[in-house]
Symmetry: C2
């Protein structure tokens, strides 16, 4: 028999996906250039030339049996050592290759890290607004996701509410900074207090509460923004990284889990994640992509376009009277809708060919997400549409 | 707290892995060329030049944002269409792109296919000898693996025993032909009777029992061997394929599930597997690997070395009086050990620098697996060591 849990999910259409498909239909009617599609978080800048060159060099120079052969189940040793060296130098923590577990992007990283530090029935706490896929990632482990409500307008984590929610059932806390969908970067003060609460509660309950830090937007931080490294504040941290955004390689599925030196279980966590792979059919990320990325740890795509786009949108939205927090990073901005129902607001926006995503699925009803990983020229051309949208609410 | 289920697995050392590590140590002592390592199933021939050329052409000609961008969650449309066309032409079944779900190798394929057609508590039946990873693949779904004992010396599935084991709890049957570790190809008569039993039992219990067919060795079939395509015999078949062996790309993690046209749930199974990915952090296989493989569906590596090696080993083993079935495909052969305890036999073999793997973990105690995906010249040089090993048991 078909598994009814998974079949039932087919009825729940993704609003992001539905918006994207609407955009494609609309583009067929009025032309792609006239649809202002802010729905999808797909990087709009090419990978750095160093990645292409590394791939070409590997294909030209390496012996194919070795290049395309099985990895050890803990991942490619060259990639692991290179990531450890890079993280150690950058964050001042004594990472070694043994702390690094290569994964198929952040999705693979999160599903391994969460399985390693939870058991079915445990609770994982996250902070709204949050990436909707955290739902299935956590459910897939058998644990339960608890959400601390969003605290507008700044969208820093509400640590008073968090402190009330932590219990002896809390196995892990899942954070995402710079944040999808708000664009907010968690501040040093936030990280200090979060670490303090986690340390106190771990002591109180006599067991470590792990911090699982989802950081695909780590390299997209705007000028002058303080972007602390979460693992620097708290020993029991599993950092989940993806090269999807920094190298514009979302389809190539490459990332890692970095186990913080000093973490409880430091000596077994990577080996445990290699075992967890056997249950999910994950195995390692592709060999050649690991090898090529190992040569690109100190470069990124040209990410400056995201800051340019952010400024254009932030300035226009504030000028139009939107309540909106200035993003510190990512390629998202998360203004408050001009009516209580963000879904209705997004439908109204479509009248001006603006495709936005309601905040409901991110745990923040009443807000809308704009993914501004699109051409700057198109952002500019979309600004009059925002003016028209705002005007429609002033009538 | 660390997940104790996964931590406990670290104590269970893999005998294949341990044998491989022993081989590395021994090679340091006596030289790599003098260690006859038959432990690992890692292809020994390079990928076809068409794969390398396809990768280079994609890197040179394609726009990076599109080439490395996110796939649709059902996989790359070009790859899906190409696989469907190839399977339709080859197997005479009306596959379309909508029947194909790209995965990270056979491991990804099996974990998706099994989750789609089982629920926790269901039973999945397989036939010994079987690939040991079927254990975690099935446990990961929440279902229970039931094993039909091996039927020596032919190692065709014991269908009488199977018929007794099928019950209303049987959700799926998992087969692997050509078979790891026996090298045996399931015959047309086997497939006909298996399909008949599945059809009858499905009718009896009023629900389809799915056939999950694991076929990474499909292209490695030796001269004159009848190798039927399982899905041709039974509609409710999910074929799980990997390019690891046919294109010698085990590290690049690329394969697919093909849903048999006419299968119950045909219209939803691929969409369901795309949903299942969200729970395991799988996402699609890497974009560029999908694109390159789509151009290599009608080629393989030069697989002839495996037949050459098989003949050398089969002739020598039979000459030495081993009870052994002649392999019809794969790069494995599975003789009976010369003492009851195959583990003890493998330790004895090490005295002659022969690294073999006991059959216990494959569900067939008393037998040993040889993976002859090594240079033919080394196979030749290993033959005297087999003579010495056999002689040690005649003393």
């Amino acid at each position: 028999m078909l598994n009814e849990q998974y079949r039932a999910m087919l009825a729940n259409k993704s609003v992001i996906r539905e918006t994207f498909m609407f955009g494609k239909q609309r583009a067929a009617q009025i032309g792609y250039e006239n649809v202002f599609d802010y729905s999808l978080g797909n990087p709009s800048v090419p990978c750095p030339p160093q990645f292409t060159a590394a791939m070409q060099q590997l294909l030209a120079a390496e012996e194919p049996v070795a290049l395309h052969g099985y990895c050890p189940s803990q991942g490619d040793p060259v990639f692991r050592a290179a990531v450890a060296k890079s993280c150690a130098a950058r964050f001042g923590l004594p990472y070694t290759a043994n702390h690094i577990f290569p994964t198929t992007g952040a999705a693979g990283a999160l599903s391994h890290a969460l399985r390693a530090v939870t058991k079915p029935g445990d609770e994982v706490i996250t902070f709204a607004p949050y990436f909707p896929e955290y739902g299935p990632y956590v459910v897939g482990t058998g644990a339960v996701l608890r959400v601390v409500p969003a605290k507008a307008p700044e969208f820093q984590p509400d640590l008073d509410a968090f402190e009330q929610l932590v219990s002896e059932n809390t196995a892990a806390v899942l954070i995402n900074t710079p944040n999808n969908p708000s664009g907010v970067v968690y501040s040093t003060a936030t990280m200090q207090r979060l670490a303090k609460i986690l340390t106190e509660k771990s002591a109180q309950y006599g067991q470590p509460i792990y911090l699982v830090s989802d950081e695909p937007y780590r390299e997209i931080v705007f000028d002058g923004v303080d972007a602390p490294y979460p693992a620097a504040f708290y020993e029991n941290t599993l950092t989940c990284y993806s090269f999807s955004k920094s190298l514009s390689l979302p389809g190539e599925r490459i990332g890692y889990v970095a186990v913080r030196p000093g973490c409880v279980g430091e000596e077994v966590l990577v080996d445990m994640m290699a075992q967890i792979s056997r249950f999910t059919g994950h195995n390692c990320p592709p060999s050649i992509i690991q090898r090529a990325c190992a040569q690109c740890l100190d470069v990124t795509s040209d990410l400056s376009v995201y800051q340019t786009n952010m400024k254009l949108l932030y300035d226009k939205l504030t000028e139009l009277g939107f309540e909106v927090q200035r993003p510190g990073g990512t390629f998202y901005i998360f203004p408050k809708a001009l009516e209580a129902d963000a879904n209705a607001f997004c439908m109204k926006a479509r009248e001006f060919d603006l495709l936005l995503v309601p905040g409901d699925s991110f745990g923040a009803p009443g807000y809308v997400r704009l993914a501004y990983c699109i051409d700057t020229e198109k952002v500019r051309r979309s600004l009059p549409a925002f003016e028209q949208l705002a005007a429609a609410y002033r009538r």
